[in-house]
């Protein structure tokens, strides 16, 4: 089978236009605004040609794009006074998850998310956003604080998966995730989850149980990585494309299946081409969602959340 083209090759014309925009913005010479607007239109035209042709394995590359906005950038764009909380009070602090309190629209929220890191150094330090048990237990701590003080919870999801390591198994990775699923299912404050990049299996789900699950247009969410699936079911690493297709991992597929509730549109070229617009779109939908949830009683929230996940799945009774 022929290997499909890399998204990074396909996006070259758009990336070049984006570079021109960045240069214009940096120089700030007279008339730059008009020039930038014209270039943005060109990006849009290119994207309209490219986007319909993108196959799921290329969407995965968009979701993993090294320039794609990361959790901390969302927090800084949408919120103020982010105060990070560290540690699970049991073993250590997991830098793959950032968590804490911040103001969102003038109200304290508990916010957290996988943080992959931008530079190579940072990526290594943050374990590429792959959490260990202490990360899930830090999240748990923050959930409980949120519940005690009545703060809504917002989570940003962007991980390839929970870390498969010796220490992770020794300290109970499975238990840490399972426990969060149970706790989040019953938490008596609103929870909004936003899948911003990679929704990698249980590692994503461990902070991914909410009243509303929002998902960026070019993010993916899957029971297993397309690579892992290809290796197990096809016994062939080059079957990633078929695996990605069969798994139905795109936002539009998952909306149809009832796994997510709303798609957050991305700007032409993808989130990394225009982070400002990405943040604006995310802000708008998160705010709308949270406003609706805050009007509900804690009992209704918990009952509706249970009912929402209760009905997921497809089977027949005969």
């Amino acid at each position: 089978m022929t290997k499909p083209e890399d998204f990074y090759a396909l996006e070259k014309p758009i990336a070049a236009l984006k570079e021109q925009i960045d240069a214009l913005l940096l120089a700030g010479e007279p008339g730059f605004k008009e020039k930038v607007a014209a270039l943005r239109l060109e990006i849009e035209t290119e994207w309209q040609k490219l986007q319909p042709r993108l196959i799921p394995s290329q969407i995965v590359q968009v979701a993993r794009h090294p320039k794609r906005p990361l959790t901390l950038e969302y927090i800084n764009a949408l919120m103020t006074d982010f105060m990070e909380m560290h540690g699970d009070r049991r073993f250590g602090d997991d830098p793959a998850l950032v968590a804490g309190l911040a103001f969102y629209k003038g109200q304290t929220v508990a916010v957290m998310g996988h943080q992959k890191g931008r530079t190579t150094r940072e990526r290594i330090d943050r374990n590429f956003g792959q959490m260990n048990p202490e990360g899930y237990r830090k999240a748990y701590r923050v959930f409980r604080e949120a519940e005690k003080f009545g703060f809504p919870v917002i989570t940003f999801i962007d991980t390839q998966g929970a870390y498969p390591g010796i220490g992770a198994e020794e300290r109970g990775q499975a238990e840490a995730i399972a426990f969060n699923l149970k706790v989040m299912s019953g938490l008596r404050v609103p929870i909004v989850c936003v899948i911003i990049g990679e929704g990698g299996s249980g590692g994503a789900l461990g902070i991914g149980v909410g009243d509303q699950i929002l998902m960026l247009e070019n993010a993916y969410y899957s029971v297993i990585s397309p690579e892992g699936c290809a290796a197990i079911l096809w016994k062939d690493q080059s079957a990633v494309q078929q695996a990605a297709e069969n798994l139905h991992i795109r936002a539009a597929d998952l909306l149809k299946l009832g796994v997510i509730d709303k798609i957050i549109p991305e700007p032409p070229g993808g989130a990394h081409i225009d982070p400002e617009t990405t943040f604006k779109n995310t802000d708008k939908i998160v705010h709308q969602t949270l406003t609706k949830l805050k009007a509900k009683t804690a009992d209704d929230l918990v009952d509706e959340r249970y009912a929402k996940f209760r009905k997921m799945g497809v089977y027949v009774v005969s």
Binding site: A174, V223, V259, F309, M312, G313, V316
Partner: protein, 263 residues
């Protein structure tokens, strides 16, 4: 080899089948625990081997039209034929030590005991039945994890089942998780680790990530005994390693203690 004889997977000795069956499907020579089917588990745990089967009418679909080396719907049909089961879990209802208990047992022979929509739904129904009847709940896990062929729908069953167990806990009803070889992935990372007691069979492989995936990630060999029951016991993840012949009496005692019913 005649059908009266079989070879132990562990010590390689040729054994008389009757002797193994008389010994709870444990090798009389080396104590290797042969894998049990869901029906065998239920028959072994319930009083006199008697129980009602529930939710048998719930059957799988192929919501994603998933095709790998063969279409998922064909794989399902083959597994149904092979195991005579509609899916990878059997829900039972009956008494253990005279106490009414709901038990769900996963069957590894059906697609590796993997959890798709039906397994999630049936586990949830069993938990909700236990809640309605105010009785304890036991799950015997033996599974490779979430079923890939149902994509994210399988992943969501982890939430559904864990949420149902949360409700059981809130109502003060005990839930025990029995872990058999192997229990990994999305099953371990949901209901299998949420027991008020987590109990494992000897030497069962129990973990989140599979050993091969870990080896590939860290690029080193795993220590001996890694992710085995005794390893989990020493790391505080399970309450006890219980040999099969002791399991029923262990559960009867556990039920009595949790239900505050002295003999």
């Amino acid at each position: 080899m005649s059908s009266l004889w079989t070879r132990c997977n562990n010590c390689q000795r040729i054994l008389y089948k009757e002797d193994i069956l008389d010994n709870h499907s444990v090798c009389p020579e080396c104590a290797f625990h042969f894998r049990l089917s869901a029906s065998e588990w239920l028959a072994m745990l319930y009083d006199d081997g008697q129980f009602d089967v529930c939710d048998h009418e719930i059957k799988p679909q192929d919501p994603l039209n998933f095709v790998d080396s063969q279409p998922y719907h064909k794989r399902l049909a083959d597994n149904q034929r092979k195991t005579s089961l509609p899916e990878a879990v059997v829900n039972g209802l009956g008494t253990i030590g005279g106490m009414r208990v709901a038990v769900s047992a996963l069957d590894f022979a059906f697609m590796g005991g993997s959890m798709g929509s039906v397994v999630g739904e049936k586990i949830t129904r069993a938990a909700e039945r236990a809640l309605a009847e105010k009785i304890p709940f036991i799950i015997v896990s033996c599974s490779g994890g979430a079923r890939m062929q149902e994509g994210a729908l399988s992943l969501m069953q982890m939430v559904k089942t864990s949420a149902a167990l949360g409700r059981l806990e809130k109502a003060g009803l005990p839930f025990f998780s029995v872990l058999a070889d192997p229990t990994t992935g999305g099953v371990t990372a949901s209901f299998a680790m949420l027991g008020n007691l987590n109990i494992a069979e000897p030497n069962a492989l129990i973990g989140f990530a599979g050993p091969r995936v870990i080896e590939q990630t860290i690029k080193e060999k795993l220590p001996k005994g890694f992710q085995r029951s005794e390893f989990l016991l020493s790391h505080g993840m399970i309450d006890e390693v219980v040999p099969r012949k002791n399991l029923r009496p262990y559960l009867v005692r556990a039920l009595r203690l949790f239900l505050n019913k002295s003999a």
